[in-house]
C-alpha cells in the first residue's frame, strides 16, 4: 500500500446538519447531537395506529408531562449507542471479574451468618423487579416524545434487563454455580408475603397508561430500593464483615448514580418548561402523592426481610427515605 500526503486541504462547506446549526449556531456538532436531536418524525403521519386510533404515531399527549421543545432536554451523559455499549461492556466485564474473584476466594461461602439468606430472599429476587422495570422503560422508549428522552429510556430499559442478569449471575455464584437459588428467589418473589407489595406495585405500574407517570412511580421505588440494597446494606456489609456483598453492590450503586443523572435532568426540564412547567409540577406532585404510599410499602417489605436476618435498621432507613421523598415536586421546593 502506498501513502501520500495530500497537499490540498479542502474547506468544509458545512459544519453539521442544518437543524443543528439552526439550533446552536454555526458550530460543529457532537456525535451525540447529530445522532439524537430531531431524529423522530414530527409531522405528516400517514395512518393512525390500529391499536390506538385516538393518537398519532408519535404524540406528545401520550403523557401529561410535556416539554414545549422536547430537545430542551438532553442527556447529561451524552450517551449515544457507541459510548453506551462501550460503558456497559466495561460494567459487565468488571462485574464478571468481581464474580470470579468472589468465586476464587470462596467469599460467598464465607459470608457471615444471616447474609446469605438475606441476599437470597431480598436481593436476588430483585431480578424480577428489574425485569418489570425493563418493561416500564421500554414503554417509555416507544411513547415518549422526542429522541433525547426516549433514548435515555431505551438504554434504561436495556440496563434493567442487564441488571436483572447481573443479579441472576450473582445468584448463581452465591449458589456455587447452579441455578437452584434463582428458582427459590422466584418463589419468594411470587409467594413471600413481604415481597408481594412490591410485586403488586410493579404490576400496577405496568397498567399505568401514562408512560411518564409509570416512570416516576418506578423512580420512587428505585430511590428507596437502590439506597437500601446498594448503599445502606453495602455499608452494613463493610461493617459486618460481608465484604463479598459490597464488591457486588458497588456495581449497582455505580449504575444508579449514572442513571440518576438523566432522570434528575428530565425532572428539571419538566419543571423548568416555560409553557408546561406549572402543569408538569402539578402532575408530578400528584403522581408522587398517589404512588408514594404504595412504593414505600413495597420497599418496606423488602426491608422487613433484611431486618429478619440482619439487624441493620433497614425498615427505619426506608421510613426516613420515604419521608424525604414526600415533599418531592411540592410547590416552592
Amino acid at each position: 500500500m502506498q501513502y501520500e500526503l495530500r497537499t490540498q486541504v479542502i474547506e468544509a462547506k458545512r459544519k453539521t446538519f442544518t437543524n443543528l446549526t439552526a439550533r446552536f449556531g454555526d458550530r460543529p456538532a457532537s456525535r451525540y447531537e447529530e445522532g439524537s436531536i430531531d431524529i423522530q418524525a414530527v409531522t405528516n403521519f400517514h395512518y393512525r395506529p390500529l391499536w390506538d386510533p385516538e393518537h398519532e404515531l408519535y404524540d406528545p399527549t401520550y403523557s401529561a408531562l410535556r416539554l414545549t421543545d422536547p430537545y430542551s432536554f438532553t442527556d447529561p451523559r451524552q450517551l449515544y449507542y457507541y459510548p453506551y455499549v462501550t460503558a456497559r461492556s466495561h460494567l459487565h466485564e468488571a462485574f464478571a471479574s468481581t464474580l470470579s474473584y468472589l468465586e476464587s476466594r470462596s467469599l460467598m461461602e464465607k459470608l457471615p451468618e444471616g447474609w446469605k439468606a438475606a441476599l437470597a430472599q431480598a436481593v436476588i429476587p430483585m431480578r424480577h423487579y428489574e425485569a418489570g422495570a425493563q418493561m416500564i422503560s421500554a414503554d417509555g422508549c416507544r411513547f415518549a416524545y422526542g429522541t433525547t428522552i426516549e433514548q435515555c429510556l431505551s438504554y434504561a430499559s436495556f440496563d434493567r434487563i442487564g441488571t436483572a442478569q447481573l443479579l441472576s449471575k450473582a445468584g448463581i455464584t452465591l449458589d456455587g454455580g447452579t441455578d437452584s437459588l434463582l428458582g427459590a428467589a422466584k418463589t419468594h418473589w411470587l409467594e413471600n408475603a413481604d415481597l408481594q407489595p412490591l410485586r403488586r406495585y410493579v404490576e400496577q405500574l405496568l397498567i399505568e397508561k401514562d408512560w411518564a407517570v409509570a416512570h416516576v412511580g418506578l423512580d420512587l421505588v428505585d430511590q428507596m430500593l437502590y439506597g437500601l440494597l446498594y448503599a445502606h446494606l453495602d455499608e452494613a456489609a463493610l461493617l459486618g464483615g460481608a465484604g463479598g456483598y459490597s464488591l457486588i453492590a458497588q456495581h449497582l450503586s455505580g449504575w444508579f448514580a449514572d442513571h440518576r443523572r438523566w432522570v434528575d435532568a428530565l425532572y428539571k426540564a419538566w419543571l423548568a418548561d416555560a409553557e408546561h412547567g406549572e402543569s408538569n409540577r402539578a402532575a408530578l406532585a400528584g403522581a408522587v402523592a398517589r404512588l408514594l404510599p404504595g412504593a414505600t410499602d413495597a420497599v418496606a417489605g423488602v426491608a422487613r426481610i433484611i431486618d429478619g436476618h440482619l439487624s441493620v435498621g433497614a425498615e427505619d432507613y426506608v421510613t426516613a427515605r420515604s419521608a424525604g421523598l414526600a415533599g418531592l415536586f411540592a410547590k416552592e421546593s
Binding site: 495530500r6 405528516n44 449515544y80 436495556f158
Partner: protein
C-alpha cells in the same frame, strides 16, 4: 466472561432471560397486555418461542462495543485522511443521500416500535429479542448518520434529511411504508418488518448496496453496512422465528399470516423500486444489476429456499410475486427515468447515462433496454445537446398505497401505464398495480388517510403554490437538486481532483 461453570449456554440463557418473567396476579393479564388479541392471532404457549442466538446482555455489550470500535476507527481515519476524495465519483453520493433521507429514518422507527414489542409481547423470549433489536436499530440509525455526516460537510443533499423525510414527495414512499407497519398491531409488525422486510427483502437492500459502497471507494459505508448486517442476521432470525412461532401456535393463524405476507411482500417490493435504480443507475461502478440481485437474493434464496420450507405450514409464495418477477427486466429503468424527470424537486442529482453505462445496461437487460429505454435516453441526450434538459412540468399522479408516481406498466405491456382504482365511500382512489389495489381494498379505512404529497401541495399545505415555494419548504439548498452535469458538486469534484494528486484508491477488502 465469568460464565457460570455448571450451566450450559442454553440453561444460562433460560435463567437470564425467560426465567425473569412471572405470571401476574394483581392485575388482569388482558389489561397488562392490551395489544396482543385484536389482530385475531391466537397464542397458546409463549414459552415455545425459540431464540437460537441465546444472547445475554454481557455478550451483547461485548460484541457490539467491539463492532462499533472498529467502525468508528474507520470513520475517524477516513475523515482525517480526506477519504471522500477517493470515491469513484462524487455522483456516487446520490445513492447515499437517498439512503440517509429514506432509510435512516426507518431504522429509527424500527427502534421505537421494537421497543413497543419489548414491552407489549406477552412472552419474555420475544420481548428480549425485540429489546435487542430495538437497540440495534438505534445503532443503525446513528452509525448511518455518523458515517454520512462527514460527506455532509462537503456535499449537498445530506443536510436536512429528517426534515425532508417528513415532507418530500419521494420520501413519503418509505415513510408511509413504515408508518403502515408501526400503525399495525404487534403481530403484523413482526411479519411486516421482522419477517417480510428483514428476512425476505433485506439482502436486496443491503448486500448489493454495501458491495456497491466497497466498489466505489466508500469504505465507511461499507464498514457500517457490513457491521449493521451482522446485527441483521439476528434480526432475520427474529423474523423467521416469529413466522414459525405464529404458524405453529394455531392453524387459524395461517390465513392471517398469509395475508400479511401477501401484503408486506408487495409493500416492501414496491419500496425496493428505489433500490433497483440505485443499483442500475446511481452507482458509478456497478456491482450487479437489479435483475441479477433479484434473481439471487429473492428468487433463488427466498422462493427456492425459504418458501419451500414454509409450504409445510400451508404457506404459499406471496400473492403478487409473479408480477414482481415479470418486472425485473423493466423496473429500474422506469423508476430512474421518473427520478430523472423529477429531480428538480429532489435532494439529489440525476444525469443521463454515458455511453459506457448504456452499454452495460444493454448487456444486463438484453431483452428490454435497447428497444424500450435507450430511445428515451437518446432523445433526452439530444435535448441536452441542444442546451435543454428533460424535466417534468407537472406533478404526477400517485398510487394511493405505495405513493410512488404511477410509472409502472401493465403486466405484459411495457408501454402502457397500469391503472387500477377503487371507489370507497363515493371517492375514487388510484393504484399502480393489482398488489397495491388489493392492499387498499383490505383496509380502506387505513389508506384513505394517506398524506399524499401531490394532493397536499395542491391543497396549499406545502409552503405555497409555486415550485420554489415547495422547494423552500422542503429545505433544499442551491445545487441539491436537478442535473448532475455542471452542478456545484460536479464542479467541486473536478476542481478537487485537478489541483492535487489524485489520491491512491482506498484499498478494499476482497481485492
Amino acid at each position: 466472561m465469568a460464565a457460570p461453570r455448571k450451566l450450559s449456554m442454553k440453561q444460562r440463557y433460560a435463567a437470564l432471560t425467560h426465567d425473569l418473567d412471572w405470571d401476574f396476579s394483581y392485575v388482569d393479564n388482558a389489561e397488562a397486555y392490551p395489544y396482543t388479541t385484536f389482530e385475531g392471532i391466537k397464542i397458546h404457549d409463549w414459552s415455545k418461542w425459540e431464540d437460537p442466538f441465546r444472547l445475554t446482555v454481557d455478550a451483547y455489550m461485548k460484541y457490539q462495543a467491539e463492532k462499533d470500535k472498529r467502525l468508528y476507527a474507520v470513520l475517524d481515519s477516513f475523515a482525517q485522511g480526506q477519504g471522500h476524495l477517493s470515491l469513484a465519483d462524487a455522483k456516487y453520493l446520490n445513492a447515499m443521500k437517498l439512503f440517509l433521507q429514506g432509510v435512516t429514518p426507518l431504522e429509527y422507527q424500527a427502534h421505537r416500535n421494537f421497543s413497543f414489542l419489548a414491552r407489549h409481547l406477552n412472552g419474555p423470549g420475544p420481548r428480549f429479542a425485540a429489546l435487542c433489536q430495538s437497540q440495534d436499530e438505534l445503532r443503525h440509525a446513528q452509525t448511518e448518520i455518523h458515517t454520512l455526516s462527514n460527506y455532509n460537510k462537503f456535499y449537498g443533499g445530506f443536510h436536512s434529511w429528517h426534515h425532508q423525510h417528513d415532507r418530500v414527495w419521494y420520501l413519503s414512499v418509505p415513510k408511509s411504508f413504515f408508518d403502515d407497519a408501526v400503525s399495525a398491531g404487534p403481530f403484523e409488525f413482526m411479519i411486516a418488518i421482522g419477517f417480510s422486510f428483514e428476512y425476505l427483502l433485506t439482502n436486496l437492500l443491503f448486500v448489493p448496496f454495501m458491495s456497491g459502497a466497497s466498489f466505489n471507494g466508500d469504505l465507511p459505508t461499507m464498514t457500517f453496512g457490513f457491521s449493521a448486517q451482522s446485527d441483521e442476521s439476528r434480526h432475520m432470525t427474529f423474523g423467521l422465528e416469529a413466522i414459525k412461532f405464529l404458524l405453529e401456535q394455531d392453524p387459524d393463524n395461517v390465513p392471517i399470516v398469509q395475508e400479511w405476507i401477501d401484503k408486506w411482500f408487495w409493500r416492501g417490493y414496491r419500496l425496493l423500486a428505489l433500490v433497483s435504480q440505485m443499483l442500475d443507475y446511481m452507482l458509478p461502478r456497478k456491482v450487479m444489476s437489479w435483475k441479477e440481485a433479484f434473481e439471487l437474493y429473492f428468487e433463488q434464496q427466498m422462493l427456492g429456499g425459504l418458501f419451500k420450507d414454509l409450504e409445510y405450514y400451508g404457506i404459499r409464495p406471496p400473492k403478487h410475486v409473479q408480477h414482481a418477477i415479470d418486472e425485473k427486466e423493466i423496473l429500474s429503468h422506469q423508476v430512474y427515468w421518473t427520478l430523472y424527470q423529477f429531480s428538480f424537486a429532489a435532494a439529489f442529482n440525476t444525469t443521463t447515462p454515458d455511453s459506457e453505462h448504456l452499454q452495460w445496461l444493454a448487456e444486463q437487460y438484453p431483452d428490454t433496454f435497447d428497444t424500450l429505454y435507450k430511445p428515451l435516453w437518446d432523445k433526452a441526450s439530444r435535448m441536452v445537446e441542444g442546451g435543454g434538459r428533460h424535466f417534468a412540468r407537472a406533478l404526477p399522479q400517485l398510487c394511493q398505497t405505495c405513493q410512488i408516481p404511477m410509472l409502472f406498466t401493465e403486466p405484459g405491456d411495457p408501454t402502457t401505464i397500469c391503472q387500477r382504482h377503487s371507489i370507497y365511500e363515493g371517492e375514487r382512489f388510484d393504484f399502480c398495480s393489482d398488489g397495491c389495489k388489493w392492499i387498499f381494498d383490505r383496509e380502506p379505512e387505513k389508506y384513505v388517510q394517506a398524506w399524499l404529497p401531490v394532493h397536499q401541495i395542491y391543497m396549499g399545505n406545502c409552503g405555497g403554490p409555486t415550485v420554489p415555494d415547495v422547494l423552500a419548504w422542503y429545505g433544499l439548498q442551491p445545487g441539491d437538486n436537478g442535473e448532475y452535469a455542471g452542478s456545484q458538486e460536479a464542479l467541486d469534484w473536478a476542481a478537487w481532483h485537478t489541483t492535487s494528486h489524485a489520491p491512491a484508491p482506498t484499498p478494499v477488502a476482497g481485492n
